[in-house]
């Protein structure tokens, strides 16, 4: 359960180049729900997602996830929250070029105290969900666009997060791969995961994946 109350995000507060990226955002998302954030470039979608994923802190208001206001968590607890609760899929994938597919997927497990056996189990499960295999030792920079994204998805799933956040996940993909991505998300939704996706790709709204569309304009929610 995600509850966002009176959320503001001001960049460079108190300075000349102050910019209000979000203001007065209120919404809730139930567990297992898939919500789409829509809006033109610069409307504040990425800003909102990074607040929800605990990657930045709001200027005002609260973000409650499973009852905890994550804006109030001390840094080390916040990292732990990100590590165990959130799977983040970035627009540009943010893979580490010179690591293999396998090592990229396993990076989020480095800080966790788990056995090699457990690690292997999680790796296979994440690859199965992301629908990719046999690329284990390929370097990330040698993967195709679609494969890169599946690698990013596998990495986001490796710690079995309950919340999946994707920021324009299909911007770099062709139609086939986009449909493929939607299928993967459907699978995850069946597993009870909450999914938030920022996108301006119309194709999402036509799919059965999406429960709700939230439209953002100039940092406000409209409709």
């Amino acid at each position: 359960m995600i509850t966002v109350t009176n959320l503001d995000k001001v960049h460079n507060a108190g300075q000349k180049n102050k910019f209000i990226a979000l203001s007065g955002i209120n919404f809730t998302a139930a567990n297992g729900e898939c919500v789409i954030l829509k809006g033109v470039s610069g409307s504040g979608k990425s800003t909102l997602l990074s607040l929800l994923g605990g990657m930045s802190k709001p200027t005002h208001g609260s973000v409650r996830i499973e009852g905890h206001n994550i804006a109030k968590l001390p840094d080390d607890k916040l990292s732990h929250f990100r590590l165990t609760t959130v799977g983040f899929i970035f627009q540009s994938f943010n893979l580490i070029d010179d690591l293999s597919f396998r090592d990229n997927v396993l990076t989020p497990t480095i800080c966790l105290n788990i056995s090699g056996e457990e690690r292997e189990k999680r790796f296979l499960k994440a690859c199965e969900l992301a629908n990719i295999s046999s690329k284990e030792s390929t370097l990330a920079k040698d993967l195709s666009g679609g494969e890169k994204q599946r690698c990013a998805i596998a990495r986001a799933l490796i710690n079995n997060p309950s919340l999946i956040i994707a920021d324009e996940p299909t911007a770099n993909l062709d139609k086939d791969n986009t449909l493929y991505f939607i299928e993967t998300m459907k699978k995850l939704k069946k597993l009870g995961k909450t999914i938030l996706i920022a996108t301006h790709d119309e194709i999402f709204e036509q799919s059965t994946l999406v429960d709700r569309v939230i439209k953002i304009q100039y940092g406000h929610i409209v409709s």
Binding site: T5, V10, T59, A71, L73, P74, K77
Partner: protein
């Protein structure tokens, strides 16, 4: 110009201390603001701003206290080095007593370290508990800041008031002249002191193992008091291998492999961590379990080094001093 002020070590020390004091002052001012307006329940932007400031201020305080830990041995080292300049001084003992400011500074520095240990533990617990003790943490820091101010002033006075003309008393004089009267507390003899210290060590060990706060505090304080004399009068003479050499400073020198830093360091830290849990109980009503283990570690370290010198001397020479 006082030549003491021109020695490299003193310049470096005073320079560093000045920077630290300025930082402490900034942290103090910000701390006051945070202390006055802190309301963790609030979702207002002013509170979020305070939380950021708190993060910054906490980082600054951690930095100050961390550097302070390094500066105490450096202070001892520099004072020791001044003994070349001060007539009559053979080591830091003479230099530190060259005027009336020396000893108080030393005591304040130790107090700052003790409270610094308490503050660091309180800080860790505060962060683990979502800022539940932030206000209490700042109260403690305000206390530390007053001590830092006092220390800063006294330190300035100390280094400007070391006379290079009038000779000072030093360990060479102490053991030559006044060896007749006992300088041990409660006029204990060296062997009773050793036995008392041994018993104290075991009792403290038991208190620490069982995590009894009040007992650890009381025994820790006694351990510090008797430990001072024990290291000085018993361990020291085995380090120097000279029964008449009673000096806290010479063992910091290279001739003795700087062992004094380890001896004094483990004594101070061991007793500080023994005493900290009670202080924290009073301050934030929280248990700091790790503090007990750290105390045990340093106390054991002290015991091992002491035994190494005492027993080692006996095995080599077949006699006790």
């Amino acid at each position: 110009m006082n030549t003491v002020l021109l020695s490299n070590g003193v310049i470096a020390l005073l320079f560093t201390e000045t920077i630290l004091y300025v930082l402490a002052f900034v942290a103090f001012v910000w701390g006051l603001k945070i202390y006055k307006n802190w309301n963790f329940e609030s979702l207002a932007s002013s509170q979020y701003l305070l939380e950021k400031k708190n993060y910054f201020t906490t980082t600054v305080i951690v930095f100050i206290l961390g550097v302070k830990f390094v500066l105490l041995p450096l202070f001892a080292h520099i004072v020791d080095g001044l003994s070349d300049l001060v007539p009559g001084a053979m080591c830091g003992a003479g230099v530190i007593s060259a005027n009336d400011y020396g000893m108080p500074i030393f005591i304040i520095k130790l107090l700052v370290l003790f409270l610094g240990v308490c503050w660091s533990i309180a800080n860790t617990i505060d962060l683990q508990n979502n800022y539940a003790y932030t206000k209490r943490k700042y109260e403690l820091f305000f206390g530390i800041f007053i001590l830092l101010t006092l220390e800063f002033l006294l330190q300035g006075l100390y280094f400007t008031h070391i006379s290079l003309e009038s000779p000072v008393m030093c360990c060479s004089v102490i053991y030559g002249a006044s060896n007749s009267g006992s300088t041990l507390p409660l006029s204990l003899s060296p062997s009773t002191l050793s036995i008392a210290f041994g018993i104290l060590f075991i009792m403290l060990f038991i208190a620490l193992i069982n995590k009894i706060k009040i007992l650890s505090f009381v025994l820790g304080a006694l351990f510090l008091y008797f430990g001072y004399y024990f290291v000085l009068h018993i361990v020291g003479i085995y380090v120097y291998e000279l029964p008449t050499h009673i000096c806290p400073f010479c063992m910091l020198q290279r001739e003795y492999f700087y062992i004094g830093y380890l001896l004094w360091g483990s004594l101070f830290l061991g007793s500080f961590f023994s005493m900290a849990p009670l202080v924290l109980e009073g301050l934030i009503h929280q248990e700091s379990k790790r503090s007990f283990s750290v105390a045990i570690f340093f106390n054991l370290l002290l015991a091992i080094i002491a035994l190494y010198f005492i027993v080692g001397f006996y095995l080599k020479n077949g006699v006790w001093l």
